[in-house]
Symmetry: C2
Subunit: 330 residues, 2 copies
Amino acid sequence: MAASMPTLYSCFKIYRDFIQPCCQAKTRVYRKSCQRRHFHLSTRSYAATIISGTELAKEIHKEIQKDVENWVFQGNRRPHLSVILVGDDPASRSYVKNKTKTATALEELLELIDRMNRDWGVSGLLVQLPLPDHINERAVCNAIAPEKDVDGFHIVNIGKLCLDQKSMVPATPAAVWEIIKRTGIDTVGKNVVVAGRSKNVGMPISMLMHTDGRHERPGGDATVTIAHRFTPKEQLKVHTCLADIIIAAAGVPNLITADMIKEGAAVIDVGINRIQDPTTGKTRLVGDVDFEEVKKKAGFITPVPGGVGPMTVAMLMKNTVTAAKNILTL
Amino acid sequence: MAASMPTLYSCFKIYRDFIQPCCQAKTRVYRKSCQRRHFHLSTRSYAATIISGTELAKEIHKEIQKDVENWVFQGNRRPHLSVILVGDDPASRSYVKNKTKTATALEELLELIDRMNRDWGVSGLLVQLPLPDHINERAVCNAIAPEKDVDGFHIVNIGKLCLDQKSMVPATPAAVWEIIKRTGIDTVGKNVVVAGRSKNVGMPISMLMHTDGRHERPGGDATVTIAHRFTPKEQLKVHTCLADIIIAAAGVPNLITADMIKEGAAVIDVGINRIQDPTTGKTRLVGDVDFEEVKKKAGFITPVPGGVGPMTVAMLMKNTVTAAKNILTL
């Protein structure tokens, strides 16, 4: 019974023990950060600049570390992230089958969230998604205090994001934004295709990219095309061939191939797919992009692993620091 | 001083005095509602079907009237919409200059909203936008109880809209949706261009059009391109030439011309621009579309006036009835 309870999975002070990104780039990486190039205008025969998310993430982790040390030096508490994990073992899975008891579990989860919302020692709080089917994910996301909501999934944070107000931006979209900006890829008036319309990745990325650069939360001022499962494959290709930036977030291996991209385009791969290697028989991680072929034609490309993944971890840490500062301004 | 106070502009029970759409179509209209055509596939030499928003709105007003009469027959209160108008006369404009007093005006406005939120006799409530510069529009929108917010501008309603949950959909986007659906224009997997990214028109329309048709608030499952002031004109043309549906909501007269559209496309004109007619010297209303030329090439087109305008009024009434029913389910 104890195993089925929502448990406080981990409770750590960030940068006391420095958090390492969980995956390392396996590919050889070249990085030309801050080197602004009008890549889409030139015809090029050399390979794409491979953007190392791992390296960019290290940079951000260092910046956050400095920020946190200043913060603590000024007499503030060290930012603290709490993660709640629900039902991640076989015992809880069988427990889920009992409807009467599962209702109790949701209640207990909401109680735990409520306790942490009121705990000044907790700066940021996230409930690991996805949750077991019987738990209403939306109710859980909305139960977290918006100012502690480091995942940015609370309805008010989604609303603010879509109105270009300052808010907790979900970590993966924030990672994509940061990769593009730190690499110096121009977005204003450019054609961007976002493949995938999920509420925590594709939709927020589309928001960040198309909105006004002068608003409270600045956007990319790009022309954005949102594609998804109902976009016919040949139409997707028509759109991606026009795109200066392609953001693949569909969860479909090999969705973006070399024939679908414009010479010199920037290709950001958000996909994380586990596939079985036909030659070795082993399982490996791939993105949504045919990396080996596309890198010969693109201007910039992120690898999987070692691209958006480690940057997402960094942005979650950044959100935790923001949450810590939020508490003081309430 | 009295003139500068936020005043309860009008307080009427809908369909006791039937509300007429404020503008009538001046053009000759043909209407083929519910006739499903795969218009984008055929080459055609005849002119576009001109969608009469005025006629569609009458249809909806009748449906709502029937719905309301049933509702009242069941013993419920007649739906009631309250509209608050702030500072719409010269007296209040001069008043605005006095900063100390303007703060009081905002406070009074919020108090009035609060009173109406708690008044069970008020089903729906809207504050006419835009507000004078000194009043924080966002604070006012967020002060209205979400379930009475017939404009759909409360942060929670925006959040729900963007998460495809049932919510008050702002009237103009709802009008565009209803025009497309009632005319039988197919959206699934089609290319849609939305020109304009405003938070109360362009952005919500993009949301409605690209999202999942099976979600709680069904979307159009279309591939959507969001264009705006930073989209280069020649790129806008590239996108509109691919589009099966063009929704013009930029507030720029003559933005969409005949050379920019695909034969047979559906063109929905949300623009309302006052221009001086060069021949007569009189002021007249035009949309964002070169109506006379585009109608020769398009499959469907809405006129201005008599298109989206009257439908917007109808959708506001529909939202008021929804709000009246919301009160009972709280």
